[in-house]
């Protein structure tokens, strides 16, 4: 991965807000990141931090009540850069991108397929829509993809219905559906959360292998720090609608700078290591992103908060070294202070 490659997607200052009776909910408040070809960015955070809404904003499939602001610059395969937010969410241009150039894998494979159609039929739908109208050719492409994701006996499986598949197999089929058009960007929203560990490992390895083959970029959304460490080149940690820390996986795991990242790391027992008596835990709970006060979103739960500073203004993002940046007043260049 050379430094000069243009990112496939660059999200600039993305905002998502929802108007409610009680006020305005702001689940995403100024998120920026970019992903280069062949790279995997892990978007980590707990429930309610806005990670799913961010991914849905990219595809333009957010609820009608959501208002998105900012820029999502996507470089299509023709080399042109377009702002996805400016496209009509029901319009033709975005539909040509959805499924073809950007596709998505969902958390629950069971509900991602319609029970009324065969698996082959549903994967084929994507092929026929974006690649070829020829029935024979599209079926051949579909079968090839099904074999590639490790569905044994693909010809027979093609005509089976979702209920005849196990959870792991369905997730494979879902991946086949997402990748059959060879997208430039794959959004994986908690793709393995609903699966058992042994199947999770298979699916993650499959994704890595396919990424190498197809050279696509992956936006990997999860709350599981273990899978992130296994999968991702770079990590962005989200809290309350903001990215609080970004960096390479090693930087984040070995030298977490933001108190939230540190707390998150401390909350998880690293399997296969000596037992600590207690886990580190962050006090309190994630607040609702409704009528937020000024200042750092993590203020109430932070163990190193500075009164009069952190509760006055949002801390600026400061880069420690290279790509490793954190939005905390305690962060200095060089990362001297801990």
């Amino acid at each position: 991965m050379s430094e000069k490659t243009e990112p496939i997607i660059r999200v600039n200052d993305l905002h998502v807000s929802i108007k409610m009776d009680e006020g305005t909910l702001t689940p995403v408040r100024g998120v920026s990141f970019e992903i280069k070809p062949g790279e995997t960015l892990g978007l980590v955070g707990e429930s309610g931090c806005g990670k799913s809404l961010t991914s849905k904003a990219i595809l333009g499939i957010n609820d009608k009540k959501c208002h998105s602001g900012g820029e999502i610059l996507f470089q299509g395969d023709d080399g042109k850069v377009i702002d996805l937010l400016k496209l009509d969410p029901q319009g033709k241009p975005i539909r040509a991108i959805r499924g073809k150039q950007i596709s998505m894998i969902f958390q629950e494979p069971m509900v991602a397929f319609s029970p009324m159609y065969t698996i082959g039929n549903q994967i084929n739908e994507c092929t026929r829509l974006h690649i070829t109208k020829d029935k024979k050719e599209s079926k051949a492409i579909t079968l090839e993809m099904m074999k590639k994701v490790g569905i044994a006996n693909a010809e027979k499986r093609y005509d089976q219905f979702p209920h005849e598949f196990s959870g792991g197999m369905l997730q494979r089929a879902l991946i086949a559906m997402a990748l059959v058009c060879k997208p430039r960007l794959l959004i994986a929203d908690e793709p393995t959360t609903a699966l058992d560990v042994t199947i999770q490992a298979q699916i993650l390895e499959l994704m890595q292998q396919l990424q190498k083959e197809l050279g696509m970029a992956i936006l990997f959304i999860t709350h599981d720090l273990g899978t992130v460490a296994k999968m991702c080149d770079r990590v962005a940690v989200m809290y309350l609608g903001r990215i609080v820390e970004t960096g390479t996986a090693r930087e984040i795991y070995k030298n977490p700078q933001h108190p939230y990242t540190r707390g998150l790391m401390g909350s998880v027992h690293k399997i296969g290591s000596r037992k600590l008596d207690r886990l580190f835990s962050i006090e309190g709970t994630v607040p609702l992103a409704l009528n937020l006060r000024p200042g750092c979103g993590f203020y109430d739960r932070c163990d190193v908060r500075v009164e009069g500073v952190c509760d006055k203004a949002e801390p600026e993002t400061c880069c420690i070294e290279g790509t490793h940046c954190a939005a905390c007043v305690h962060c200095r260049k060089g990362g001297a202070e801990k």
């Binding site: 707990e46 429930s47 196990s166 959870g167 792991g168 197999m169 058992d196 560990v197 042994t198 199947i199 999770q200 490992a201 298979q202 993650l204 390895e205 709350h223 599981d224 720090l225 273990g226 899978t227 992130v228 460490a229 296994k230 996986a249 090693r250 795991y253 070995k254 707390g263 998150l264 790391m265 401390g266 909350s267 998880v268 027992h269 690293k270 399997i271 296969g272 290591s273 000596r274 037992k275 600590l276 008596d277 207690r278 886990l279 580190f280 835990s281 962050i282 006090e283 709970t285 994630v286």
Partner: protein
């Protein structure tokens, strides 16, 4: 086993089986599971979905009736009962000593009752003559213990977040002063930072109240952290049961080995090589012959296809594998990490 250890036995799960029959098909959810629990221990039960761990937990607390087997429970008064065969009157006496914490913090609390009523319900049911003031005082005491803000007790559950609800559920389980608590995926539905809070709480309470936990979870890292001993289940059977560190560092059953190798480690520098499992978990209505694991086991031999292995002691733990003492399986290297 020494005399003293024998004395500390609180729960002896013996040959528990549970069969469900529906539309003429018999599904063996749990088959012949046995293990001992000592006072103050935490036993972790791990396994993948459909392995019968939840059914086992529910059989132990007698939420459902086991088809076969016994749960010998040594109550506070020193008498050992067969918990599963107690009649109504004895049950009323012993019931309160074995309680349960549930997975879903949302469906486990009745949304129509205030928190104080939810926590007090077991008290009211077991001590109908207890004066109101005493009940209230006990509820406040226990609420403080689990870290609930006592000014909020008059609120309804919808006012609380998942973590706080799990604290309420824990308070309800604790108010009868039980000895054994079965935690069925008690932290699985919670966010990571909240998980840590609840795990710490459970550990603190254990120390303070000398509780014994049976901790059922699919999350191996949580189980490793909290448990003294771990039981690994596969297709309704206990395949390995032993001390956590021993079992995680040198597993003796091929399934345990494969399971451990599949867990992603939260450290980008450690990439453990996964031991691939062939095929998928068989249908529990139609389990394979011999060792249930043989079709997916890479060490499978002819004997495994015909003979069901017994749970036997190998290397200081219980294993159900014919070749447990001949193999050297890979686990986690504790000294390196």
């Amino acid at each position: 086993m020494s005399e003293k250890a024998e004395k500390n036995l609180i729960l002896q799960v013996q040959h528990i089986s549970k069969r469900f029959t529906s539309k003429g098909v018999c599904v063996r959810a749990v088959t012949d599971v046995s293990f001992d629990v000592r006072k103050g221990e935490t036993i972790g039960i791990v396994g993948e979905s459909g392995c019968g761990k939840t059914t086992l937990g529910r059989c132990i607390v007698r939420a459902i009736n086991a088809s076969e087997g016994e749960v010998k429970y040594t109550a506070r008064d020193g008498v050992t009962y067969d918990f599963l065969k107690l009649d109504k009157k004895e049950m009323k006496k012993v019931r309160k000593e074995i309680q349960m914490v549930f997975q879903d913090p949302y469906s486990s609390l009745d949304p129509r009752m205030t928190v104080i009523d939810i926590i007090a319900e077991p008290l009211k049911a077991n001590f109908p003559k207890m004066p109101k003031a005493e009940i209230e005082q006990k509820v406040i005491e226990i609420a403080k213990k689990v870290g609930l803000n006592t000014t909020y007790l008059k609120r309804y559950p919808h006012a609380f977040s998942g973590g706080q609800r799990q604290r309420i559920g824990t308070a309800r389980a604790l108010i009868l002063n039980p000895q054994v608590i079965v935690c069925d995926e008690a932290v699985s539905a919670l966010d990571v930072s909240i998980q840590a809070q609840i795990i710490n709480l459970l550990k603190d309470l254990q120390k303070e109240l000398q509780l014994t936990y049976i901790f059922i979870s699919h999350d191996l890292s949580v189980v490793e952290h909290i448990s003294d001993k771990v039981g690994v289940m596969y297709l309704g059977r206990l395949v390995e049961f032993g001390e956590t560190e021993k079992l995680f560092s040198r597993p003796c059953h091929p399934y345990t080995e494969a399971l451990l190798s599949a867990v992603p480690i939260a450290d980008p520098d450690i990439q453990n090589e996964r031991i691939p499992l062939q095929g998928e978990i068989p249908n529990p209505a139609n389990p394979p012959s011999g060792c249930y694991f043989h079709e997916r086991c890479k060490y499978c031999q002819e004997k495994c296809k015909h003979d069901v292995p017994d749970l036997r002691e190998v290397d200081g733990r219980m294993v159900a594998c014919h070749f447990a003492d001949e193999m050297h399986l890979r686990g986690f290297d504790y000294d390196q990490a």
